[in-house]
């Protein structure tokens, strides 16, 4: 026996716990996708016309940059294991920057909708009818909930970045980085389905 104090750590269990949390998130969004699917099925024409209000360009740009940020986050997991601290921080900062860009695009997109009188409970929307109201309520709720996840991910990655910088997170205990990565990929995963459902199927 040695006298060195042993701090118990179970990375495999931490990862499993993170995945269990991700399952609850997946089921939450799956429920919303089912609601969307049913309402679309019941109001095909209104959903078709309402979806044309959304800019495919903005949606595509956001999809591509979010995919890039997912790749840089995944690469950070490799970089920390290769003991490349500088590159890890660079990759994390790129991820944070892209998250910020995504939110900026989202801000202008929502702002444009608000200026056109389209927001939950607006008079213009009520005049458009039941189907449009449903489409835009779901649009604001689901992209809003997704944006909330982006903000949470942003905070998590900031903490990881700070800890990598002051050497409390290294190649010996990269589990927090890995789990934040899993969360970030979840955010990406949800967007992969939100994008075609709201922007493309018109």
């Amino acid at each position: 026996m040695n006298n060195i104090a042993h701090i118990h750590r179970d990375d495999e269990a931490s990862k499993l716990g993170m995945w269990l949390f991700i399952f609850t998130e997946l089921l939450l969004f799956a429920g919303l996708f089912i609601v969307y699917g049913i309402y679309r099925y019941l109001n095909p024409v209104a959903f078709h016309l309402a979806a044309e209000e959304l800019s495919v360009t903005v949606g595509t740009v956001n999809t591509v940059i979010l995919l890039i940020s997912s790749a840089t986050m995944a690469m950070a997991s490799t970089a920390i294991r290769l003991k490349n601290k500088q590159f890890t921080i660079l990759l994390l900062l790129i991820t944070l920057f892209i998250a910020f860009m995504f939110m900026t695009n989202k801000y202008f997109e929502w702002k444009g909708k608000f200026e056109h009188g389209i927001f939950p409970g607006s008079e213009d929307l009520l005049r458009l009818g039941h189907g449009d109201t449903l489409f835009f309520s779901l649009y604001f709720f689901m992209t809003g909930l997704h944006a909330l996840h982006i903000i949470v991910g942003f905070v998590l990655i900031t903490i990881v970045c700070y800890r990598v910088n002051n050497n409390t997170l290294t190649h010996e205990n990269p589990v927090l980085l890995d789990n934040s990565g899993l969360y970030w990929h979840l955010v990406d995963l949800i967007w992969i389905f939100l994008f075609p459902l709201f922007y493309l199927i018109t």
Partner: protein, 95 residues
Amino acid sequence: MNNHKIEHIVPYRLYLIVLSGLILLTLISVGVTYIELANLTVFTAIFLACIKSVLVLVFFMHLKFDNKLLQILVTAVFVLIALVLFITFLDYNFR
């Protein structure tokens, strides 16, 4: 559990290849909306999104290199979601 076992370090190159695949699939899914596919539009969009999500799960989320238990659990959750979707639509279709 053992925290010090030799881990599989995924090379950067693999992530970059997967990323280019994902971007390509995104551009394809935008491209096909300009082609009139009628009923197939929804199917193609969902199908391409499914391929993309599998790529993210398997490579970015590291499932390819994880233990069997996790692989089975993740698959089970997606099967569950698919079943619930299917049954809900059956209900609405034959109501």
